[in-house]
């Protein structure tokens, strides 16, 4: 489903150039569950942003499905993001002035889906994530775990093939963190490809496939034997 070839990304940090991604080769199959681990600054977020088409590589190629997305223009990449990719961020990134429902339906609103079609889909997700009672609450009226669940609902409302999570539990206590991970894994069980960046080894170990990064390079690619 995903293929990266010799992907490089260099950032200028002061005078010094930093190789955030250093000739990365990687293949991911549909439905896989990957965790990405490594020390701070090792390039995990950069890799995830590349996968999510939020960032453009300096060199190398990237295939998503049958398309070489590294050759696409910004408009086409935006459309791919909307259709294929869901993001979950450490900082939730909910829009403060919009209610939980409005935040969740934002990707549908952006594509011009009619309200009567949006409503049942949002209702389903709200119910499934146990957020029915909070549909009309603003983000600052929700707990961290609830906010992250709203963010996850927003990420999967368009039924994307790929779900990218950058330290989704980083701002949560261990209990709500556990909830969020279980929710993500449940979605993975239903077929969505899940790539999760984490610095918590316990969390990372839950994934069937684990990547370790250092200085922009893939250090180790470890996977469980298929059951």
């Amino acid at each position: 489903m995903i293929r990266l070839e010799q992907l490089c990304k260099r950032y200028q940090l002061g005078d010094e150039p930093v190789m955030a991604l250093d000739h990365v080769d990687l293949g991911i199959d549909a439905g896989e569950y990957l965790s990405v681990m490594g020390p701070s600054g090792s390039g995990k977020s950069t890799l995830l942003n590349m996968l999510g088409l939020l960032d453009t590589p300096d060199s190398g190629r990237y295939w998503l499905g049958d398309t070489e997305v590294s050759a696409l223009g910004e408009e086409a990449r935006a459309a791919q993001r909307n259709r294929q990719i869901g993001f979950v961020f450490q900082a939730y990134h909910l829009i403060d002035r919009l209610s939980a429902r409005e935040n969740i339906e934002l990707p549908l609103v952006l594509t011009g889906t009619a309200p009567e079609q949006r409503r049942p889909r949002v209702n389903d997700l709200l119910q499934r994530l146990g957020l029915e009672r909070h549909a009309d609450h603003l983000p600052n009226q929700l707990s961290g775990g609830q906010r992250q669940r709203v963010a996850i609902a927003r990420a999967v409302i368009r039924k994307p093939a790929l779900l990218l999570a950058d330290e989704p539990t980083g701002n949560l206590d261990s209990h709500s963190g556990q909830d969020v991970i279980e929710l993500l894994e449940e979605l993975n069980d239903e077929g969505i490809t899940l790539v999760m960046v984490t610095h918590d080894p316990n969390m990372g170990q839950r994934a069937r496939r684990r990547l370790w990064m250092q200085d922009g390079q893939l250090l180790k690619d470890e996977r469980d034997a298929q059951p």
């Binding site: 939020l54 910004e74 459309a79 993001r81 002035r97 009619a114 368009r158």
Partner: protein, 404 residues
């Protein structure tokens, strides 16, 4: 994004920062209101003048003695003709096919004495026809009788102000009045038409034209008014009139012919220009509002970098983000413009209520111009900040708060 969704999204934004929105809104509103107010007043002044001068009607030709080589511009107001314009000319003109009526006019100053009081007043010599042309009616008594032009009858009609000056509230009909060395009987008082910028008949004494000729000891007329039967006859009659007068004046074309329209055209042009200039000055305030909108949009963009990154991560294209910020500015402007229109018209109607004789009316071009300018300025000034937002790379935008 569907328009209702866009509208709702922007509305949330505007109400969320209501103070900032209100200030921008007010800036636009004041600009639009200023344009409407000033052009409305300019247009009012124009109409006021036009109405005052338009009393003769545009089917009337004005003949002045003396030839002036003016092409456009305000025609000469004092005749310096070599040959007088006479009552004989007036009668000849009346026989010209297509002419309905002819009214002569002589104007001069004379000592007027009545009721033991003495004033120097304008004395106008004319015929009954002038009253018809100017739609002048008598408030009391009657207007000048229908006489042969050369008959000097000892009667007069006095203006409203003259009546007050000479007789206070006493009855005046049938009383005697002395103009220069001649006596005449008051047969009517003109209705009060307010101030007329043309000849102010309210402060004059009107006598038959032949009496005026004797009083001022002249044969020459000051003006001749020729009313045609149809409006379309104005142009074809001009050469006919000139030829007739030339024939009667031994081959000299020593008159000037003007129409109401040509006279008014000059005033109209000047006043319209004035209205335009005043409106343009007011429009500057709209540009100031535009700069404010640019700043607001810039602030909005920098405060919302993370949101822009998020929208892009959710699949918003550059074009969508651009449109989002433009529509925000546009909405603010439209609300502001609507408010401005309300304020502008409100003030104008308030003014009209206080001074009912002053017509108020905002020219359509000013209304449309103000709104279009406001919208145009908002779009132009919001364009750059909106593009800045649209071009923001999604990763950098998201980092706005990820690492804050």
């Amino acid at each position: 994004m569907r328009s209702p969704d866009l509208l709702r999204f922007n509305l949330r934004l505007l109400t969320g920062q209501w103070f900032r929105s209100l200030m921008t809104l007010l800036a636009t509103a004041v600009g639009v209101a200023a344009v409407l107010l000033l052009t409305g007043m300019g247009e009012g002044a124009r109409r006021f003048v036009l109405e005052e001068f338009n009393l003769l009607g545009n089917d009337v030709l004005i003949i002045l003695p003396g030839r002036k080589e003016t092409t456009g511009g305000i025609p000469p107001l004092t005749g310096e003709g070599t040959r007088d314009l006479t009552l004989g000319d007036a009668e000849a003109l009346l026989r010209l096919p297509g002419v309905r009526t002819v009214a002569p006019l002589i104007v001069g100053l004379a000592q007027v004495e009545a009721n033991g009081r003495n004033r120097e007043l304008v004395v106008v010599g004319t015929s009954r026809e002038l009253f018809n042309m100017r739609q002048l009616q008598a408030a009391q008594g009657q207007v000048l009788p229908d006489l042969p032009l050369d008959r000097a009858e000892a009667v007069c009609v006095i203006g409203h102000a003259v009546r007050g000056m000479l007789y206070d509230q006493q009855p005046v009909l049938g009383r005697w009045l002395r103009t220069g060395d001649r006596r005449c009987r008051v047969i009517g008082v003109l209705e009060d038409r307010g101030v007329s910028l043309g000849t102010d008949l309210s402060e004059s004494v009107i006598i038959p034209v032949a009496s005026a000729q004797q009083l001022f000891n002249t044969q020459g007329l000051f003006r001749l008014f020729v009313q045609v039967q149809h409006l379309e006859l104005i142009e074809p009659l001009k050469p006919a009139i000139l030829d007739l007068i030339q024939q009667r004046h031994q081959g000299e074309r020593d008159i000037t012919l003007i129409t109401q329209d040509s006279l008014l055209g000059v005033f109209d042009d000047v006043l319209q220009l004035l209205t335009l200039a005043v409106g343009a000055i007011a429009a500057i305030s709209l540009i100031v509002a535009g700069i404010l909108i640019m700043n607001i949009t810039l602030i909005s963009v920098s405060q919302r970098t993370a949101e822009i990154g998020l929208l892009k991560a959710l699949g918003a294209s550059e074009r969508q983000v651009h449109r989002l910020f433009l529509s925000e500015a546009l909405m603010m402007t439209l609300i502001g413009a609507a408010l401005g229109i309300l304020i502008g018209y409100g003030l104008l109607w308030g003014g009209h209520w206080l001074w009912p004789q002053f017509p108020v009316s905002v020219p359509l071009w000013a209304l449309l111009g103000a709104v279009l300018l406001a919208v145009g300025v908002a779009l132009i000034f919001a364009w750059l900040p909106a593009r800045k937002a649209a071009r923001l790379p999604p990763v950098l935008a998201l980092k706005g708060i990820t690492h804050a």
